[in-house]
């Protein structure tokens, strides 16, 4: 696979990250741990041979399994293994199917995608936001952004990279923003069995 193919292929797996993070939250409390496990899973993906890549039928199922295994490895590597987390993770092997069924209708249409992007940008620190707006929304080059804001090109580059990283974090955060249009169609959240409003007491 060449770089462009890899890029397009890899994208198919990125869609599920917000759901995967919501799933991991059940066993891993620390956000840094979740980030490590997710990154580890993507790295495992890239280590597959072309033949192995061909064999993947459902990217979603593949990612849930990979993330699950990476989380088990992650917990085992810890100096003190929390038995709770391990037990929960083992017990949840079956939940995966449930997560998938509930997330079948996970599709982001163009309008929702635009909302998500706008919300992410609105959350950025002021400086980052300005630089990113000029570069991506108005299509200025880095040099033009630097001239417009009266700052060094190097600073523009730094701020852009930071804005990009923060946007990725925001877009990939465990789906839990109820006001985003994706709420109703992403029940892989912490509703875990309680989503039935009748289950009082």
């Amino acid at each position: 696979m060449n770089e462009a193919d890899t890029c397009a292929w890899f994208r198919r797996f990125l869609h599920y990250e917000p759901q995967l993070r919501a799933y991991l939250r059940r066993f891993l409390r620390d956000d840094d741990d979740i980030a490590d496990v997710v990154q580890d899973s993507y790295a495992r993906l890239l280590l597959l041979s072309d033949a192995e890549r061909e064999r993947i039928r459902s990217p979603r199922a593949f990612m849930f399994t990979t993330v699950h295994n990476a989380a088990v490895d992650h917990l085992r590597r810890r100096p003190v293994v929390s038995l709770d987390a391990m037990a929960e993770l083992e017990a949840s092997a079956l939940l995966e199917e449930e997560v998938q069924i509930r997330s079948l209708d996970f599709e982001i249409d163009a309008r929702q995608e635009l909302d998500r992007l706008q919300r992410a940008i609105a959350a950025l620190p002021k400086r980052c936001r300005e630089v990113l707006r000029l570069r991506k929304l108005l299509g200025f080059s880095q040099k033009e952004v630097a001239a417009e804001l009266g700052i060094a090109e190097h600073t523009v580059e730094k701020q852009l990279a930071r804005a990009l990283r923060l946007c990725t974090e925001l877009l990939m955060a465990a789906v839990e923003d109820p006001k985003s249009g994706t709420y109703g169609s992403t029940p892989a959240r912490q509703c875990g069995g309680r989503q039935d409003a009748d289950s009082s007491d």
Partner: protein, 344 residues
């Protein structure tokens, strides 16, 4: 943390490789970086995907007006308006320039000393009824604002100050021992270094729930000249909630599941476990313009449980109607709950 460092490098590579000309040696350096660790390559592809997604924002670009590039027009026009039309004779011009430099330097020095370092300019964030907003601060601490809330962020070189002017917010604070993070709400101040907590302004009290780490809570006046709270004030540790009211200040341990219940708003939910119907209605009313009203004191004390979408009081009303045999009357402004026997 390691993951974040890799993400930082990956995002820098994306930006660098997207600039106009990339010399072959930079390209080679990038390839070596990618090859060094599959996590590097993965992180790059992930950041690059965001970069591509951000291109969709161009759909929001205002439509071009005339031949001039539209979006730069106002800035250019503004710059031209400010360009000097009347020029002073040369020696006086030099004098004027010198004076201007001096004034700017003095004012800058003064402001700096008053604590107004760059980025000190405050920013206000607000949500409407039923709203939610996540904000990343310049130090990458994260604030989440609940429904109908407003706060003002004032950062400078000595302290990170947030004034919670209305409502409720959660804070995930990045550690910076040189610059304490202080949240003020009414007469209460909360000081944190690196921690996670939730602050809610109620009608007559302020509640501070600590999720992670430790915060100090004290009266607003205790925040002195440096505008930070002295660490000797009562500390509240993770798993506790502090309630500051005019009557006094108390700290208690969280009940099981209470933390999850308090923070259910992060996922747009309300979570009840033995609260009264009156308390539940009050919670729903924070999130909705259409208010839940209990017309019958007999049912107000009914204990309820369950999890609901906070912006959907109608569903809640239907559930209690079915489950407790209540009567529900809906108007455009109100949803009224009555006991089954009482006549409307």
């Amino acid at each position: 943390m390691r993951t974040r460092a890799i993400d930082g490098e990956a995002s820098e590579w994306v930006v660098r490789l997207e600039s106009t000309s990339v010399p072959p040696e930079v390209r080679a350096e990038f390839e070596a970086w990618c090859a060094a660790d599959p996590r590097h390559h993965a992180a790059y592809l992930r950041q690059r995907d965001t970069w591509t997604r951000l291109d969709r924002l161009q759909a929001l670009r205002p439509p071009p007006a005339g031949l001039e590039e539209p979006n730069r027009l106002p800035l250019r026009a503004w710059a031209q308006r400010r360009s000097p039309r009347t020029r002073l004779p040369y020696p006086r011009r030099r004098l004027a320039a010198l004076a201007a430099v001096l004034v700017v330097a003095c004012v800058g020095w003064l402001l700096w000393n008053l604590g107004f370092a760059p980025e000190a300019a405050g920013e206000t964030y607000a949500t409407v009824v039923g709203g939610f907003q996540r904000v990343i601060l310049p130090d990458e601490s994260v604030i989440e604002l609940n429904t109908d809330s407003q706060l003002r962020v004032e950062f400078d070189s000595r302290r990170r100050l947030v004034q919670l002017e209305r409502g409720e917010a959660s804070f995930s604070v990045v550690r910076d021992s040189a610059r304490p993070f202080v949240v003020m709400a009414e007469e209460t101040a909360v000081r944190a270094v690196g921690t996670q907590f939730n602050v809610r302004r109620r009608a007559d009290s302020v509640e501070v729930m600590v999720v992670e780490g430790i915060v100090a809570v004290g009266p607003r006046e205790a925040v002195g000249g440096a505008r930070t709270l002295h660490p000797s004030f009562p500390v509240v540790t993770a798993g506790n909630i502090a309630i500051a009211a005019p009557a006094g200040f108390k700290v208690r341990e969280l009940e099981p599941d209470e933390g999850q219940r308090v923070l259910a708003w992060h996922s747009g939910m309300l979570f009840f476990e033995g609260q009264t119907l009156a308390e539940a209605a009050e919670e729903f009313n924070r999130y909705n313009r259409r208010k839940l009203a209990i017309a019958d004191p007999a049912i107000a004390a009914l204990r309820i449980g369950g999890q609901f979408r906070s912006t959907n009081a109608e569903v809640f009303a239907r559930v209690v109607e079915r489950r407790y045999g209540l009567q529900v009357t809906e108007t455009t402004e109100r949803i009224v709950l009555r006991g089954a026997e009482s006549s409307p």
